[in-house]
């Protein structure tokens, strides 16, 4: 039995056509195209025909190896040391460019650590991609719990019957409705190394003892600064979701808990938190997805720098696809990002499932 919706509703479908068409054109088709392009050497504009290359793109992005470097020794077998007394090692490129090791060809050093006298070096097929991956994961694993937790705290504070509480509600929600690009621009001024608001405030609070920091120009602080600003920007949105969850909890449950002698904390633990379970799953998944897609902040504030310390996956995908006209490389990153997000969402669903 065909439903009425699909058979005799031509007008309805006609109305839906523009939206469906646009969604198909800009979301569904590109989604499948990305899979296709990631298996080719497609470029944005190229005189050469596109060729099928199999998983080569994935291999060059994900290629990872650990090599062990033995220190250089003199003829007597003693370790050669530099002025600071550190052992000297052969250069990595002696291996990655050597014909003896074709499997390491084209790879570069990502980072190394010391193991006894030897140095172990992690080499990657695409170091920038690896940095982007690590930065994105860091971003997600910091933003998801901190933003979710902060939003919950704000929601708990706001969920009270006080005069003027709506003012706070509005204030916290305001950054959400401002474009992230605008917010990023404003925060660039706040983070400014010379005369930024943040430096000024910190100096004021410490009576001038604080040394101004170029927050976005320093590899140690750039990613953290973007994380802090991102948390601030969207916390109001998640606060509202938590609030709606809080309002579904019957006030009688709190009264029952009060009569049983529950403290504020116990009421939270036994009434509020279990009542927010579904909301928590929602908030967590939404933040995770949004965080994986972090792009605009990086694009406006740092362009991935300094020294690739704020590279992210989406930024890299765009940078490659359009900056370097390497559509296949960009597509490959998108597909990898999709798989990572899918895996993490499934894991979250599994971990937060309703235990029967």
């Amino acid at each position: 039995m065909a439903s009425k919706l699909t058979t005799s509703n031509r007008t309805g479908w006609l109305f839906a056509l523009p939206a469906v068409g646009l969604i198909a054109l800009f979301i569904i088709v590109p989604f499948f195209l990305a899979f296709g392009f990631s298996l080719t050497n497609q470029r944005l504009i190229s005189p050469n025909p596109t060729e099928y290359v199999g998983f080569e793109n994935y291999e060059s992005l994900l290629g990872l190896a650990v090599i062990t470097l033995e220190p250089e020794r003199d003829d007597g077998g003693n370790i050669l040391r530099d002025e600071e007394g550190q052992p000297e090692y052969p250069r990595v490129r002696t291996i990655t460019r050597s014909d003896d090791y074709p499997q390491y060809r084209g790879m570069r050093e990502w980072f190394r650590w010391q193991s006894g006298d030897n140095a172990r070096v992690v080499i990657a097929g695409d170091v920038i991609f690896m940095k982007a991956l690590v930065n994105t994961l860091t971003f997600v694993f910091v933003v998801a719990p901190v933003q979710g937790g902060l939003a919950l705290c704000l929601a708990l504070l706001i969920n009270q019957k006080l005069r003027g509480i709506n003012v706070f509600r509005t204030v916290f929600f305001m950054p959400v409705v401002v474009s992230i690009v605008v917010v990023s621009l404003l925060w660039r001024f706040i983070y400014d190394g010379n005369d930024g608001l943040l430096n000024n405030i910190l100096q004021g609070l410490t009576f001038g003892l604080f040394e101004p920091v170029d927050w976005l120009g320093n590899t140690d602080t750039a990613l953290g600064s973007i994380i802090a600003m991102s948390i601030w920007q969207a916390v109001g949105f998640h606060m509202v979701i938590w609030l709606s969850g809080l309002q579904t909890i019957s006030p009688t449950l709190y009264e029952a808990a009060e009569i049983e002698g529950a403290s504020k904390w116990q009421a939270f633990r036994y009434v509020t938190w279990p009542g927010l379970r579904n909301t928590a799953v929602l908030v967590l998944i939404v933040i995770t997805m949004q965080s994986f897609a972090v792009f605009a902040q990086v694009d406006v504030m740092t362009n991935g720098g300094p020294l690739d310390s704020t590279q992210t996956l989406v930024f890299q995908a765009v940078e490659r696809g359009y900056g370097k006209q390497d559509i296949s490389g960009g597509s490959t990153i998108s597909v990898i990002l999709f798989l990572v997000v899918l895996a993490i969402s499934l894991l979250q669903r599994y971990l937060t499932r309703e235990k029967a």
Binding site: L253, I259, E260, G261
Partner: protein, 358 residues
């Protein structure tokens, strides 16, 4: 020992006073029921005893101790809510033992007390279920179980049965009655339901607009209502009222008459009435019978509506000389609409109220 005593208790929300100076003495072990129309302040009063609402003025004592400013948990009370208020994510066992969990009791103690309470309420087999797997009646049992585990001196019930269907309500009503005998704790119970009030209560408090109308044993209220409101509120179908004129007042009774009623002498009615004044005559439907020539002057009319309930027949009679009257006739009687009928009543069972005595 936990008697509860309210002295000139008042409650205002902003400028609106909803409890207007209530005095109630509840003795230890007594079962007291608050009744009254919706919005009269029953729940508010109960919640003030529980400590969920502040007391604007007056004093509340539980067990001889003034508890106006004592936390709910320290008042020695337990409360059962109309909406059960059991925690949806906890098993029945955890729900019942919730107070002990809060107090940090050991697992053995929790299990023992939960089982004990479950046994009293015959729900041992439900202990491992979740609230979503329970019927309404079972949920209310869980809520009562949680109250029992607290071992309170005073149980507070706010319309605990109004979300249940009629048959279950009757079961649970008896259950609560048994529980009261078993625990012999003080119980304060709010309800809309007359039957619950009449069957459970040692003492009924009738409230109206935040003012106590009458306090007394159920039969006391039924037979000797203090005013028109109580007379109309207690008893079902409601008492019939008729505007009458007092003709004569003497030591052995008051003689009244109305357009629809020939003069009749009501024995045993008080001296508060003077000749030639107006009053209201109250006759319970149950005391009217189809017996034209018995006792006093009969009321003649036509049958306007018949409700046959099996055990009794409720007849709405349009009186020939103006007015309507409702009679609850014993046994099932097939009466045709529009037939003539004459109703008589025992003047000794009639009530007379002053116009001012509303």
């Amino acid at each position: 020992m936990a008697d509860v005593s309210l002295k000139q208790v008042r409650k205002s929300y902003g400028n609106v006073e909803v409890i207007k100076g209530v005095d109630i003495e509840i003795e230890d072990g007594e079962f007291v029921v608050f009744v009254g129309p919706s919005g009269c302040g029953k729940s508010t009063l109960l919640r003030m005893i529980a400590g969920l609402e502040d007391i604007t003025s007056g004093t509340l004592e539980i067990g001889g101790r003034v508890v106006n400013d004592v936390q709910p948990k320290d008042r020695g009370i337990a409360m059962v809510f109309q909406t059960y208020a059991i925690f949806p994510h906890m098993s029945v066992r955890e729900n019942v033992a919730f107070g002990l969990t809060i107090a940090g009791a050991s697992k053995e103690e929790k299990d023992r007390k939960a089982l004990e309470a479950a046994r009293i309420l015959q729900m041992e087999h439900l202990l491992d279920r979740r609230p979503s797997q329970l019927s309404g009646g079972q949920r209310q049992r869980v809520a009562i179980g949680r109250a029992i585990v607290r071992d309170p001196e005073v149980f507070l019930f706010d319309e605990p049965l109004s979300n249940l269907d009629a048959a279950l309500r009757m079961d649970m009503r008896m259950e609560i009655g048994k529980l009261h005998k078993h625990l012999s704790a003080t119980m304060v119970y709010v309800t809309h339901d007359q039957v619950e009030a009449m069957t459970l209560a040692d003492k009924i408090v009738v409230l109206r607009d935040g003012i106590v109308q009458q306090i007394g044993a159920p039969m006391d209220l039924y037979h000797n209502p203090a005013n028109l409101f109580v007379a109309g509120f207690i008893g079902s179908p409601a008492m019939n009222f008729m505007d009458v004129e007092v003709l004569d007042q003497s030591a052995d009774g008051v003689t009244v008459k109305a357009p629809a009623l020939d003069p009749v002498k009501l024995p045993g009615v008080g001296e508060a009435f003077t000749a030639n004044s107006k009053a209201k005559l109250g006759i319970r439907p149950q005391y009217l019978s189809v017996a034209p020539d018995t006792h006093a002057g009969a009321l003649h009319g036509k049958v306007a509506l018949v409700e046959r309930l099996g055990t009794e027949t409720v007849v709405n009679v349009e009186l020939t000389r103006g007015g309507r009257i409702v009679a609850a006739l014993a046994e099932d009687r097939p009466l045709e609409l529009g037939t003539d009928i004459a109703l008589g009543f025992d003047p000794g069972q009639a009530h007379l109220f002053n116009e001012t005595n509303t």
